[in-house]
Amino acid sequence: MKTWAILLGGLLVWAVHFFGLYAIAEFAPSRMLTVILTVPCLAAEALLLIYALRLDRDEAFTRWRRSVAVGGTGLGLVAVLWQALPPWFSG
């Protein structure tokens, strides 16, 4: 379970953020709520990224695990940032 969480953490945060945003936009559109959701998600991505960077890389499997985790959180970070943009352009 832990390995899966490490591998998928960044993307899971992305998913939470995305579907949260969608729910906000669909049921209660508000720029404030978007910010309230985005800030913790960005923080989570950043923390996960730091955590992933500090993971062991003593053998092939852990090295592989680390790099997938780093990539996933990095990608998640970019995607969450992008998703936070729309409310600032369309009021």
Partner: protein, 320 residues
């Protein structure tokens, strides 16, 4: 009388409509389109060049290409930068172009998608219908027009590429679309959402007038029709049941299922943008619209004999 250029304007042609904007709601998109098309071509060229180097390049070049670093640069860093810029542009433009509530004094028109034609209603400030028409929209050059799009049956999509992007017409919803034409002319459009049967033959035209000419057009539409001289054609119109579906203001004909025919004689096209409009095509449409536009909801009227058909076409063509 429609000319070659007019027919083309209704139905497309060169230069590509999307790249040939005629108003402020299509022009920024054209700029974006050019940026995307040229940028896309450049990126494709870069990727092809990289592939060519990978396959046939000098060993030193290939070494540089063959590693995680190339992937990080080409597959991640470069796209992130470019896409961020594009995203911001796109979002800004989306917010800018999306039509919101009507502006004070703005011309409002409700266009309803029907299987397979367009009902057009010009609204006044309070949203009441003042002019009824079908399959074409007359607008003054240089001012914005807010279109309220809805549907009477299935989903259609309103698209006049030279004036704006498309917007769906969805039952139970009212979507807004703002257009403005900056030059006089006829701008063609077509239903863009598959709506069954003769979806392919559901055309539309926006006719942009100079302000003076538009005022004249508007006045002519609002003017009371002189007490109609009863003609053989009008009698036939009533007797044949046309009135069950069609309205002609000033007569007993008040059907609502089909297009309003009060000014049918002055429309550019027939059958929702597919035929030129004259006495001949009117007669052909009445007698056998099912061959011309298979599946459309007007039955054939072959029971009319030659003189009747002529009289009816005459009458309709005269409804300017």
């Amino acid at each position: 009388m429609p000319t070659e250029t007019q027919l083309k304007a209704v139905l497309g042609g060169w230069p590509p409509a999307v790249l040939n904007p005629a108003g402020p709601y299509s022009e920024p998109v054209t700029l974006l389109a050019w940026a995307l098309l040229i940028g896309g071509t450049v990126v494709l060229a870069i990727v092809l060049a990289a592939l060519a180097v990978a396959l046939w390049g000098a060993p030193s070049l290939r070494r540089r290409l063959g590693g995680d670093r190339a992937i990080w640069i080409g597959g991640i860093a470069f796209p992130v930068v470019v896409l961020t810029a594009l995203l911001v542009w796109g979002l800004w433009l989306t917010g800018d172009l999306a039509a919101k509530a009507p502006r004070p004094g703005e011309m409002r028109v409700r266009i309803t998608g029907e299987m397979w034609w367009w009902r057009v209603a010009y609204l006044d400030e309070s949203g009441r219908t003042v002019i009824r028409d079908a399959n074409e929209l007359h607008v003054p050059v240089g001012s914005t027009v807010l279109l309220e799009l809805d549907s009477a049956d299935v989903i259609h999509s309103f698209w006049v590429p030279r004036l704006a992007g498309k917007m769906n017409m969805i039952p139970g919803r009212r979507n807004l679309l703002r257009i403005q034409a900056d030059q006089p002319g006829t701008f063609g459009g077509q239903c863009a959402e598959y709506c069954g049967g003769p979806h392919a033959l559901m055309g539309f035209a926006v006719v942009a007038h100079t302000p003076e000419s538009f005022d004249r057009w508007r006045a002519s539409r609002l003017a009371a029709r002189p007490a109609s001289v009863t003609s053989r054609g009008q009698e036939l119109f009533m007797a044949s049941g046309c009135a069950a579906c069609h309205t002609i203001a000033g007569t007993q004909a008040a059907g609502l299922a089909g297009p309003d025919l009060t000014h049918v004689g002055s429309r550019r096209t027939l059958g929702a943008g597919i035929l030129p409009n004259n006495r001949g095509t009117l007669a052909g449409w009445i007698a056998d619209s099912q061959t011309i536009k298979p599946g459309n909801r007007m039955p054939n009227y072959k029971q009319l004999d030659a003189r009747e058909l002529n009289a009816l076409a005459d009458y309709l063509a005269g409804l300017k």
